[in-house]
Structures are given as C-alpha cells and as structure tokens.
Amino acid sequence: MYTFSSRLKTIAFVLMILGILGVGYSFFTAPKTVEDVERILAADSHHGGGHADAAHHGDAAHDAHASATEETHSHDAVKAHDTTAVTAHDSVHGAAAVAAHDDHNHDAHAKDAHAAHEGHDDAHAAHQEHLEHVLHQQQNKPWAAVYVAALFFMLISLGALAFYAIQYAAQAGWSPVLFRVMEGVSSYLIPGAIIVFLLLVAGVMGWHHLFVWMDPEVVAKDHLIQAKTGYLNGPFFLIRAAIFMGGWIFYRQYSRKNSLAQDDATDNRFYKKNFKASAAFLVFFIITESIMSWDWIMSVDPHWYSTLFGWYVFASFFVSGITVIAMITLYLKSLGLLEYVNTSHIHDLAKFMFGISVFWTYLWFSQFMLIWYADIPEEIVYFITRIEKYNLPFFGMVVMNFVLPILILLNTDFKRLSWIVVMAGIIILCGHYVDFFNMIMPATVGDQWFIGAGEIGAIMFFLGLFIFVVFTTLAKAPLLAKRNPLIEESKHFHY
C-alpha cells in the first residue's frame, strides 16, 4: 500500500496556492479599459522594434485579408481590403490593427475598414478599433491560460484512460502490474472534466470570449459562422460536452470498480466485464474524441477546419498520458513500491513514449505538409498565423515533441534508465503543453501572447490539483491488481 506522504501533499498544496496567486494576478492586471491598453502599447513601443514588426504584420494581414475577400466574394470586402492597405501605410497602428485581428474575424475586419473608410484620413477610428481589439485579447489572456492548462491536464488523464482500455481490450500480458498506476492517473478525469465543463459553460454564458462563435454580435456579421450554427451553438455544444465527459467518467468509474472487485474474486467475472466495457469504451472514445477536439479546440478558429485534427489532438494527449504513467511508475518505484515492476516494463513504456512521439510527428507533418503544399487561403491562414506570430513555440514544439524524444529514446539501454526516461518525459510534457498552447492562443489572444504569471500559475495550479487527486487515489487501493488473470505474465515479464 502506498501512503500519500505529507511532503508531497504539501508540495501539491503549495503549487495550488501559488497557482491561484499567479492566475489571480494575471486577472487583476489585465487591462480593464481602452486607456489601459493605450498605456501598455505606448510602453511597449518605447522598447523599440515595434515599428518593423508592425510593418511585417501588415504584410501578413494583407495575405489574411486577401483570403478573407476570396471567401466572401463581396465587392465591399474587396474595397475594404484596399482601404485597409492604405490605412496600413498611413499609420503603423492601422497596420497593427489589421494584424491584430485574427483570421476568424475577417468580416469584422471589413467593418473596421469600413469605419476607417468612412473616417477616411482619420486614422483615429481605426486606432480605437485596434485598441478595443487588443483589449479583448488581453482580457482573454488569463482565461486562455487557465483553459489551456485545464484542458491539458484533463486530457492527460483521458489519454491514460484510453491506454488502460487498450491494455484490457488487447489482453496485454505485460502491463497489468501498472494498472493501478493508470487508474490513479485516470482518477483526475472527474475533477478535470468538471473544471473544463465549467469553463465551457462560462464561455456560453459570455463570461469569457475564447470562442468567438458564441458571441451573437460576431455571428451576426459572419455568414460562414452563420452556416455552422446548427452545430456551433451554445446548448448543443454543452449537451455534447456533457455526454462525452459523462461517458468517459462512467467507464473510468466502472472499470476501476471491477478492477478492485477482481482482487478478491474467485473467478474472472470482473475481468471479463472490464474486457467488454473496454471494447465498448474504445468505440465511444474514438468517436467522441474527434468531436471533442473540433468542439473544444478547433472551433476557437471557427473558419478553419482540418479532417485530421481530431487524431492529431489524440496523439498529443495520448503520448502525454503514457509519459505521466511512466513518470509516476518511476516515482513509486523509487519509494520501493511496485516490487514487480522491472526495467522491462519501464522499457516498454519508454518505447510507447518514443513510438507515439513519432506517431504524433507523423500526424503533425501530414496536416502541416498537406495544407502548406495545397496553399489554399481558407486553410493556410492557420499556419501563417502560427509561423509569423508564434514562430518559436511552433517550431520549438516540433523539436521538443519529435527531435529530442527520438534522439534520447532511440537507444535501447537509455529506455531502461530512470533518469533518462524522466528527462525525456519532462521534455515531452512541456512540448505537448506548448502544442495545446499553439492550438488555443492564436485565435484567442493573437499576438498579445507571452508566458507569464497567468500561464505558469495555471500550470502550477492544475499540476498541484493533479498530484493531489492522483496520489490520493493511489493511496486508496493496493498497487498490485493481484487477481487479474494476466498478472502472473506481467510479474514475470522479461524482455
């Protein structure tokens, strides 16, 4: 039996408190009015480089705008586009105004430009628009920071749950000694899903503006979003979320109950129940996972679409879930627990970390390459935003999620060394956090991003909560699923 040490518990609480402070600080310091924004921008431009940047953004905006006009086929939009270009020359702020606008808002763009057009030489209106836009982005920032971290930790536990279900459905013989660790990691799904659900509800209620399609004013001006309202609307969105989360949590609780009951059983009844439930869950999961990724992630860019997106997101949180299983296993092993876990088990987990990292890269490349190659405006705008405004996190993530794991974990002996697996694990987890960051931030905070108190605070808070929930669950039951019919295979697993 594992007991949740008070030291670790203290760490978890300290993380949560520091996290709350960080998040609170970022909410507190977010600008409240347009004047605040003006002051911040003025302070920024004194640091220099702002002008060159703005000009550069102007080009990007030009492209993005061209794409917008192609979609709308509206003469007005074309006119607006020209006007915007002129404004861009007139005023650096004007250029930045366009750049700051995200691709999802191109109809609003047209409106901006119209405003500018009406004011003509008066760049002031455009300037005001820009300030307001930046204000929205900066007010989004603390929410987005919380949302990314909440989603990431919830999906880690969902990834671990999927891995667990696969072990059952495939009747894997090597892994039953790790079942209790997996059950521990998946226990976070309940609080994690509730928090994410509340954040989604907050969006629908209009308390934050991460999802522009939830804003009736935006929808009123955007015929592309209007065409999607049959799917993208508040009630249906929340109903879907509730069904998905309810289904996952139900399987988690049901399989955990059977797994514990099997410990004292005299036959394999509970094991068989879990086998069947796992197969059913995997069917439910493969469908809901894709839809979940469109709803909670892809729809922050409501114009953009990619059929591969769901599987890409899956690869990202699946490898993160496996990595966390490996790291917690190593931690428990270092306490002298999990006596039957040997280096072969660690080796296998590390192989999965390696393999799924490569799989993630495969999907990342497939999506990126096809969109880059075809270069059609409605798709490419997604990567233009990321490469121009998120260059370092975008390519840095590929290094952390592909280059480093492949270099570190290719070697057979390395996969059996605890410190190397932990090091690779930290890189993978950071890399996939950045992956989710890149998925959410461009559409919500635009070029106003940076990793500050809000982002780090949110990570700390959810990490603390994750540790608290997971280790509390681990302490509740013996760490060996002793009566699992495959446990002997797992105990004597040697590769």
Binding site: G173, W294, Y305, E378, P485, Y495
Partner: protein, 474 residues
C-alpha cells in the same frame, strides 16, 4: 524474446498433438509432395487470366493509352484504382511481420510468411499500372533521378508521384530482404531433408549456406529486429505517400488532411482481408489447420473490424467536415459522391467497408470460417470501390460543368486488372508449392509456451513454468 510464461486463459496457438518433428514434416509436406488436381485447376485458371492480361497489356503498349476508358475529364480511373488497391493489399504482410513482431504477438508466426509473400506479389502487380500508364514502358527508368548526361530530363522532386517511386521501391526491397531473412533457416530445413541432388542444390543456394550455429541465430534475431524497426515506418510511409498523390492536389474530395492515416488504416484493412482469403484456403488445401487455427482467423477478423471502423470514422469525418467547412465545392464533392450518378459505388463502399465488418462483434460469426471467407471477399470488393469512389467521383464533375462526364471502362481496363489477379495467383500458387509457407523455425520457438501439447503437459504435471520461476525469483 518474450516471456516464457503464458497465462492459463490464453488459448493454444498450435493445436493437436504436435511435437517439433511434426512441425517440420507438416511444413515440408506441400513442398515435397506432388500437386493435386485442385492445385492444377486453380493454377490453370490463374495462368489463363494472366495470359489474357498480357494480351491486354500488349494491346495497350502497341496501340496506346486510348484503349483505356480514361478520358479528358477522368484522366485517372481504373489504372490508379488498381494500383492503390494492390499497394494497399500489400500492407498487411509488413504489418504482420514487422509491427506485430514489435508488439510481440506470437500468433503472427503462423501467418507472417504467407502474408509477406502476398505483400511482395501484390506490390509487383501494383507497380505495373503506373509503368504501363507511361505509354512507353521501356523508358520507365526515367522516373529515377538519372544523371543529366542522359539529356535535359530531370524528375520533378516536388511531385508526390516521384516520392511514390522512392517509397515503393524502398518498401519492396526491405520487404524482400525481411522475407528472405526469415526464409533462410526454413530453406535450410528443406535442403537438409532433400533427397535428390537437384533440390538439395537449389535449396542450398536459396538458404545462403545457413548452418544453424548459435552465431547464425543470434545474427538472425538481431537483423530481424532491425528490419522490423525499418519496415514499420516504411509501411506507414508507403500508403501515406500514396495518399499524398491525391491529397496534395487542390481537388475537392482529394485534398483533405485525414487522408494519410485513413489510407494506411484502409490498407491494413484490405490487406488483412486478403490474408484471410488466402489463408482460409491454404490451411485447408495444405493441411495446416493445426498452425493456422480458428483463433488466428478470429484475431485477423478483429483487426479487420477495428480498421474497418477506423475507415468508417474517417468517411464520416470527411462528410461532416465538408459540411462544416462551408466551402461549396467541398460540400458538393461529397454530396455528389453519395447522391450523384455514382451513388451505387458509394453505397457499395459504405456497406462493404463499414457495415459488413461490424458483424465481427459477434464471436460466433468471427470464428466461423465460412463467414470469415465471405467477409474477406466483401471487404476486398469494398476497398476497390473505395478507391474508385475517391478517384472517379472527385474527377468526373470537376470545376468546369461543361466538361462533366462519366467514366466507361473498356475491355482492356478490365483485362489488365484481371490479368494482375491472375499473375498474383500464379505467383502465390507457385510459392505455396516451393516455399515453406509457415515460418517453421519461428513456430518451433513458441512450441513450449503456446502449443496444446505443452500446455497439457504443464497442467498434468501441476507444475507450471510460473511457480517454477517464482522460486527463482525470490
């Protein structure tokens, strides 16, 4: 390799009262015996189809590509459909031999040899379609980046079609090496049993002087693992690049990001169906039921069910996202697929690929040899139509409504396709009578853990491996 203890709930992979020598005899029998009448009938039919294919190809080369049904709007039709179909079928072989090796699936040992043979034979069929579509197949080597001294011709490195050339040729080479490496100890077994000097000489050459020393085995294991590691990314890359042939084009219905993984899943799906088709017949004809058991067929059926469902999810995803995208062309492409003049092909694809494999959820059905065989054929038909639907329906109504048209295959299209099926079976039938169709050396390595004989012995002795090793453990 893997653990030597096996849980009692696992069913034996070698059934009946078999010892090591029985495995040798059973595997050598089809090679050493004489062909029966059915084999000759099957061979004659396959040969006739093959010869008919040769005639059609000769006609194509002599007259030109105009003998095919492809037209100005539908410039790609049966040729590329057949190409993708055959390449896809090839995937299961590598998947079974490489990916299942990495996942330590012992059941692969009875089927990997034939699955790999199928891979190599089907890649040969696939390669013929692009080659003869060139019109002047004697210049086929121009697809290689040959030195500029040959002239000013240079291949287009930006084209996925060229990537295909590299991917498929690399894949074929690695598969061939992998297959042959596994064959070495088995050829040596046939060599050592041969009675006539001629057969001895032939198998001695084929086995590359395999001696069976510990060093041979050690290198054999090492090279198998390295080749499996190489073959795994290769097998995924091949169908990924095949999907790029379509997905990089800005054609509604082709350009969609899910295509790479969904093509790979579809390839595994069709490949496993073909393995089932071939092995259900072979286990009967060559008396190999003890090695290729109902459990093997059941497991392959499960793979078919899973990959079929993944493909189904991809179909639905494409449909949904076409609507969600709000792009008119994209929406029409899918509407036209499902309700246009080729609706029947689409319906066939959906029924065969998504609905039919769902029957495998029932244990009774997936353990029935007859139903398995039927479904395997149904899936192969469905997967042919999938490629036809993707290719022809996306092309026949292009951006310019005045050029909209239908595709009408000619007898040459059909003849060429039938010819490749004939050629494939000619090769496979010859293989089944001259090669050890089961990797007997590998099957022997799981004898003690997974055969019925040894499982019974363990039960009788009440002394199983595990309690024994547990004592060692402490």
């Amino acid at each position: 390799m893997s653990s030597h203890y096996e849980a009692p709930i696992r069913k034996p992979l070698i059934i009946g009262d078999k010892n090591y020598h029985d495995v040798t005899v059973d595997v050598a029998r089809p090679v050493e015996g004489r062909a029966n009448k059915q084999w000759w009938i099957a061979f004659s039919i396959a040969l006739a189809a093959f010869l008919w294919g040769i005639a059609c190809v000769a006609y194509t080369v002599g007259t030109g590509i105009g003998t095919w049904g492809s037209n100005k709007t539908v410039g790609w039709a049966w040729d590329i459909t057949n190409f993708v179909w055959w390449v896809g079928i090839g995937h299961a072989g590598t998947l079974i031999s490489a990916v299942l090796l990495l996942f330590r699936q012992k059941w692969r040992m009875a089927i990997n040899r034939s699955a790999e043979a199928m891979t190599i034979f089907s890649v040969i069929q696939a390669a013929m379609f692009p080659v003869f579509h060139m019109g002047r197949p004697w210049l086929a080597y121009w697809v290689m980046p040959i030195p500029n001294q040959f002239g000013s011709l240079w291949v287009n490195f930006n084209s996925p079609l060229l990537w295909d050339v590299f991917a498929i040729s690399t894949y074929l080479s690695v598969s061939l090496v992998f297959w042959w490496t596994g064959l070495l100890p088995d050829f040596a077994m046939l060599r050592d049993r041969a009675i006539t000097p001629f057969t001895k000489r032939v198998y001695s050459i084929l086995s590359f002087g395999w001696s069976g020393r510990a060093k041979d085995w050690q290198r054999f294991e090492e090279v198998s693992l390295v080749l499996a590691g190489l073959a795994t990314p290769l097998v995924l890359s091949v169908h990924t690049i095949v999907s790029f042939d379509f997905a990089t084009s800005v054609i509604p219905g082709w350009h969609t990001t899910i295509l790479p993984p969904y093509f790979v899943a579809g390839a595994i799906f069709s490949g496993f169906a073909m393995v089932n088709t071939l092995l259900i017949i072979m286990r009967k004809v060559s008396n190999l039921e003890a090695y290729i058991t109902v459990q093997h067929i059941e497991l392959m059926n499960i793979v078919i069910m899973i990959t079929g469902s993944i493909v189904g999810i991809a179909y639905i995803t494409e449909l949904f996202v076409a609507w969600y995208s709000g792009v008119e062309y994209e929406q029409y492409a899918f509407l036209n697929r499902a309700t246009g003049p080729y609706w029947w092909a689409y319906a066939l694809m959906m029924t065969c690929n998504v609905i039919s494999p769902q029957v495998m959820w029932f244990k009774k059905i997936r353990t029935s040899i007859f139903v398995s065989f039927v479904i395997s054929i149904v899936v192969n038909i469905g997967m042919w139509f999938e490629r036809f639907v993707i290719i022809v329906t996306s092309l026949h109504r292009d951006y310019l409504p005045s050029s909209w048209t239908m595709f009408q295959p000619t007898f040459v299209d059909a003849g060429f396709f039938i010819g490749t099926i004939g050629f494939f079976f000619v090769l496979f039938l010859l293989y089944s009578r001259s090669f050890p169709v089961i990797a007997q050396a590998e099957v022997k390595s799981i004898m003690k853990t997974s055969s019925e004989t040894y499982k019974k012995l363990r039960e009788q002795g009440g002394h199983d491996n595990h309690s024994h090793s547990e004592q060692n453990h402490h």
